[in-house]
Symmetry: C2
Subunit: 351 residues, 2 copies
C-alpha cells in the first residue's frame, strides 16, 4: 500500500477490495474486472460494485490494480506548457478518448526543459502509468531508454514520423512552413521576416524555421540572420520581436510567426507603430488556436490537427496497452487558413 | 510492484533500489534519502546515486517510495479545463514551487464535470499522491469524503475561504463582481447586461453573478433574467451571447463578462454589429489572462491572483505533507484593471 499515510489516516482502516466485494456481494475478481471495465461484468453487478466503492470510499491501491490485468488505467502526458493553449485541444481530445475507456489522463508540463521532462517521465513511470504521450521527437536518448526499459507504450505528438525511430503521431512542420512561405511569396512579398519560438530543444520550432528558409532559398531569396528573431511563445516577446524586425529599413512587408501567440504580438507591434495590417504589413501565424480569431484582423494561420492527434494518440495507446503490438506512425495533414491578416503586397509597403 | 508489465518488460528484470545501492556503493537507505531529497545526503553521494539511477533506468516503485518517508513526491491537481489558459498561470506557479522541492505535479482536467472530477480524485489517490489541489469549493460531499478517508492534504483554489470548511486559497468572487459593477455604474451606465459561464457546478461563476446582481439591486437597478446569458467559456459562445443581449431594444450600454474569453467574444459581436467599443458599448472581462491585452481594444478586467494562488498552494501543501498540520485558509486580493474597453456612458449610446 502506498497511499499517503498521515496521523489522520493511520487512525482509520483503509477499505480494501475485499471490503468492496463483501459489501457488493461479489468476488474480488469480479470487483477488479468491474473496476477495470473489461466488459465481462453485468451492468447490475457493476452498479453494485460502484455503489460499494463509493460507500466505502475505496480507491484501488497499486497492489490491487496491479493484480487486475497489470494495469493502473492511467496514461501520462508531458507537454511543454499549459500557457496560451497550444496543446489544450489535443490534450482535451486525448483525455476524452481515454475517459471513454475509463482511463485517466495525468498531465505534467516541462516548461520546454529537457531535464524536467526526464524527471517527469521517471515520476510517471513510478506512478505506474500504462502509457505515455510526449510532444516532439528530439530529446536525450536517456529519456527514451527510461521508457524502453519499462516497455511502456509511448507516442510522440506534433512531429513528423520520418524523423523518429519511435511511434509518432503528428505532421510535417517543415512542409507546412514551406507551404505558408510559398503562399506569401505568391502574394508578391519579397521582404519577409520571421519570429520563431526558441529552437533549442524544440524540433517543431526548428523545423518551421528550416521550412521558411528552404522556401525562400528555393525562390532566390534568403532568411538572413537579421530577418529571424527567436523568443519565448508569449504575446509580449512576440511584440518585442516584431518591433525589432519592423525597425529595419527597408522593413519587411510580411512576418511569418512560429505560432499564433507570437503573431498576436506582431499585430500589437504593428498597431503601436501605426502600421495597418494587411495594408502595410502581413502577419501569418501557426496552430489556429482560438486566439487567431479573437484578434483583429483575424490571423491567417496553419491549422494543426489538434483534435485528431489527441484522439489518435488515445486510440493507439489503448490498443497497444491491451495487445502489446506497437502501432505504425501516423502523419496527418495541416491546412492553411486564409484570413485578413495576409494581403497582397501594396506598392506603398513595397517602397 | 505496479509498474506496467508488458511482454517487453517481462523479458528483462526491472532494476531495484538494491541494484542502485550496489552500483552507487551506498546503502538502500541512502539511496531513498537521496531520491527523496531530504537533504541529509552529501552532494557527491547524491551524484553517485543519480548516475546509478540513470545507468540502470531505475524508477522508484510504489513500494520503494512508500518505504521512504511514506511519500511519492507527487501532488495532483484537478482543473476544470486547459482551454483558454484560465488556470495555466496558477498551475505553472504551483508546479515551479513543487519542482523546487523535487515534487512532481500531475494535472487532470474534469471538463467541469463533477463525476469526472470524483473519478480523477480517486485515480490520483490510487497513484499515491501526497497532496491534492482542486478548483472551487462546491462539490458533492462524497468527493471530500474520499480525500478525508485517506487523510491526504488538499487545498481548494479560486474561491473564498469563508464559504468552505476546508483549506481554501483564493479570493472573493462576489466582492470582485460587486466592485466591477460599481465602477461601471460610476461611469454612468444603467443598462447593464451580463454574460456568465455556466453556474451549475461552478461556484466562481455563480458568485460573480450574485455579486453583479447585488450591486445592481443596491443601486436601485436589477439584473433581470433577460439581462443575463449563461454559456460555456468559449469565444464563439461569448459572441453569440453578446449578440443575444445586443439584439434587445434598448440595448445594454455595458456588458459584464464572467471571464476574458467571453469578453473577447463580446468584442467580436460588437464589431460584427458595427458598434464601437467603448463609444457604443463598454465590455468588461474577468481574470486578466494574456488574451485581455491581445484583443483590441484591450479589456478592462479583474486581475485574479493567479501566480500567488499557485505558489501559496504549493507552499501550504509541502509544509502540510511534512508536518501533518492543516494550514489556515488564505484570501488574496483581486485588482480591477482599467483599460480602453470600459468608457463613460456616451449620450448616443444612452438614447
Amino acid at each position: 500500500m502506498a497511499h499517503k499515510s498521515t496521523p489522520a489516516s493511520d487512525s482509520r482502516r483503509v477499505p480494501t477490495i475485499e471490503d468492496v466485494a463483501r459489501l457488493a456481494g461479489v468476488s474480488t475478481a469480479t470487483v477488479s474486472r468491474s473496476l477495470n471495465a473489461t466488459g465481462r461484468v453485468r451492468e447490475a453487478t457493476r452498479k453494485a460494485v460502484e455503489s460499494a466503492v463509493r460507500e466505502l470510499g475505496y480507491t484501488p491501491n497499486f497492489g490491487g490494480q496491479a493484480l487486475a490485468l497489470n494495469r493502473t488505467n492511467t496514461v501520462g502526458a508531458i507537454i511543454p506548457t499549459m500557457e496560451n493553449a497550444i496543446f489544450a485541444r489535443a490534450i482535451q481530445a486525448l483525455q476524452e478518448t481515454l475517459a471513454a475507456q475509463k482511463v485517466t489522463l495525468l498531465v505534467a508540463t516541462s516548461q520546454y526543459l529537457p531535464e524536467r521532462e526526464e524527471e517527469q517521465i521517471r515520476a510517471l513511470l513510478a506512478r505506474g502509468v500504462d502509457g505515455v504521450v510526449l510532444i516532439g521527437n528530439r530529446r536525450a536518448s536517456s529519456a527514451y531508454a527510461l521508457l524502453n526499459a519499462r516497455g511502456v507504450p509511448f507516442v510522440l505528438l506534433w512531429s513528423a514520423p520520418d524523423s523518429s525511430p519511435f511511434v509518432t503521431i503528428g505532421f510535417d512542420n517543415s512542409a507546412a512552413a514551406i507551404d505558408v512561405t510559398t503562399r506569401i511569396l505568391k502574394k508578391g512579398h519579397r521582404r519577409i521576416g520571421m519570429i520563431s519560438g526558441l529552437t533549442a530543444h524544440n524540433d517543431r520550432a526548428d523545423d518551421r524555421v528550416r521550412g521558411v528558409s528552404k522556401a525562400l532559398t528555393d525562390n532566390g531569396l534568403e532568411l538572413a540572420p537579421q530577418d529571424l528573431v527567436e523568443c519565448r511563445y508569449s504575446l509580449a516577446e512576440g511584440e518585442a520581436a516584431a518591433m525589432q524586425l519592423l525597425q529595419r529599413q527597408p522593413r519587411p512587408t510580411a512576418i511569418i510567426c512560429g505560432n499564433d501567440v507570437l503573431a498576436a504580438g506582431a499585430l500589437r507591434a504593428a498597431r503601436a507603430l501605426g502600421l495597418v495590417v494587411p495594408g502595410d504589413l502581413s502577419v501569418v501565424g501557426f496552430d489556429d488556436i482560438e486566439l487567431a480569431t479573437a484578434v483583429f484582423p483575424p490571423l491567417a494561420t496553419v491549422r494543426v490537427p489538434h483534435r485528431r492527434m489527441g484522439v489518435a494518440a488515445g486510440e493507439y495507446l489503448l490498443r497497444w496497452i491491451v495487445d502489446g503490438k506497437r502501432p505504425p506512425s501516423l502523419t496527418l495533414p495541416t491546412e492553411f487558413i486564409e484570413r485578413a491578416s495576409l494581403g497582397n503586397l501594396c506598392d506603398e509597403a513595397a517602397d
